[in-house]
Symmetry: C2
Amino acid sequence: VDLNLLGKNAKEASYELANLDLAIKNRALFAMAETLLENSALILQENEKDLTKATEHAISEVMMDRLLLDAKRVEAMAKGIQKIATLPDPIGEIIEGWVNADGLVINKKRVPLGVVGIIYESRPNVTSDAASLCFKTGNAVILKGGKEAYHTNLAIAASLQAALEKVDLPKSAVQFIEDNTRESTSALMKLDKYVDVLIPRGGARLIRAIKENSTISTIETGTGICHVYVDEAADFKKAVEIIINAKTQRPSVCNAIEGVVINRKIAREFLPIMEKSFCNNPRVELRADKEAFEILNQAKLASEEDFFTEFLDYILSVKVVENVEEAIRFINTHNTGHSESIITEKLATAEKFLNEIDAAVVYVNASTRFTDGEVFGFGAEIGISTQKLHARGPMGLIELTTTKYVVLGHGEIR
Amino acid sequence: VDLNLLGKNAKEASYELANLDLAIKNRALFAMAETLLENSALILQENEKDLTKATEHAISEVMMDRLLLDAKRVEAMAKGIQKIATLPDPIGEIIEGWVNADGLVINKKRVPLGVVGIIYESRPNVTSDAASLCFKTGNAVILKGGKEAYHTNLAIAASLQAALEKVDLPKSAVQFIEDNTRESTSALMKLDKYVDVLIPRGGARLIRAIKENSTISTIETGTGICHVYVDEAADFKKAVEIIINAKTQRPSVCNAIEGVVINRKIAREFLPIMEKSFCNNPRVELRADKEAFEILNQAKLASEEDFFTEFLDYILSVKVVENVEEAIRFINTHNTGHSESIITEKLATAEKFLNEIDAAVVYVNASTRFTDGEVFGFGAEIGISTQKLHARGPMGLIELTTTKYVVLGHGEIR
């Protein structure tokens, strides 16, 4: 694969996309959805190839489910694209405007990023989600999917390109890297000549590789070591329900919690209640610090590393602290800047936690599972940023745009 | 120098700064200004050391002037800090807020970035400018200045720290890396454990080194290959004045132009006028493409590389194009995404240029020299971003902040 040519074509396409009318963009999105449905049988056939290969490699049931497509899931992908078509277009908005002291008319206008690179892991619906979100915001996209979903992704990408050709738009607006190697992933990370922004969607190892190797501006997404802190003024019922929900409703996602932090004053009373409640739920292994270990019945003793680990599984670390100050210090040292929650009925403690925790989303008395673009009301989500530049927290359409100053003069010189 | 310790201390300080009252921050800024003035003689004495060393290395007059401090320039630095104290504080602003479908009260709040690293070249006033801008926005800062200004920068940084101690604030809010080597610069680029954002201020080589080596989110600033395009419908008087201003008013800065692009239909008429006008100004060497070369009297023939070079000198490339479409294509291929200007009286051509040029600031009938935070009206400037993530164009206080979602629940689970 000639990545340079691919990049060049994407850049060319991005110039055309940047000034497309909304009606034309939406027409193309509906064509994409339609073509996916028309090609459903073919896509499922290709998915079968990936599933067969996965079976040979004996991958886990969770991974198998992430990879699997059926007619209903293809339909859901098509519906997702149709929904994106109905969302308002952020492009072209004048965010602010003024006349400066020299008489220049300055307008700050919302424009596409240009070319977006997306590196992602197994779930094939990311192919259509990411492509349609980028397209809606006038960006060309270069996709590099996980090797497990290779055939499926190719079939989806080919359908999207066929739709673009049907409506006379450049098919290089959506490109999928067909080279199924790590080398092409590394090469994409260095394609700064053509790619404006790189968005990795995957685990800690992918994020680290990008930090170390990418020469492109990046938005880190998706690693979440999240906590619930149970304050001395907590409502125990809320605390237990929220901890169970945040840990077990879907442990494989980034907004699930990995640790509980507990105020010493209530630890002896609360921990046994929490442990008992986990019996009526999927079994959760507790890895406790020394103090909690002595209170709990069936916990293991946690290692130092456990407190820095994103388990993505039915495992929960438990840490006892002296007060909210120590809880904040502990969380700020061990988290990934994703989502944190305090359970308390005391206003001053809640305010302190909200102010001092360093994370994209900080909650009082709610599950961290709510950190999600759809749930927040953005209509769609391209990922959850855990960095501080450009976007922080759930990212919708606006986070796929940048701005440009458009300045009208009358011969002014300085 | 133990950069890890320095980073850890900066992170600690950043937590304290993040929630400081505006009054306390401003009091500290006034103390910084005062201490700079008190230490003026000492700072000038240290500056003398740097100047002596520079003389030994026979650096250029322009560089010498960038390095030189006198009582007036120290005073200007102090005034700069006082001005920053009078600017409104962006921290704490609720940018938007809503109740989502689950009943969660979601507020998006403006907060500091945390720890900002700044790598910069010779001008010592950047030390006090960058430190006070970061401090005002509640960020801890780690500064790495150019080796030419080493003694001067140290003296300035020491004064700022002394002021912080006077008002009982942690002096690690402003830290200067005393190790005067490239190794410490490289180490700072990898301090992602503590540094949230890195802002390089310098030439293309520094920017490239950061792209290739930094593991920290970066805001690229300050490389500018800017152009003026003279359209067939241009007012020649405006065109000549703007070109002279944009090229010669201060050729060493990033918003000066490096190239003129000219519509073929007016090239024979306009180029001789432009060439003649340069006689009454500092002499400008013209490096022309073949077509312009044949029209001009004293031009050199440009190499392909000339069109990709930021001269930062009295040199100007000249390119003849067929129409505005070719001008846009040429500029988008050769620019650095900084500032571009079209000279035209025709509305449709102006609109096309504004829409299709890929740059932070696009002008009609004005000099590119206006791309500047103070000129735009931001009250101060930390640099000019040429990237698309987070900030694009002149950056004021707001660009030194990020956001945090603060969510109030009532026991909600998903």
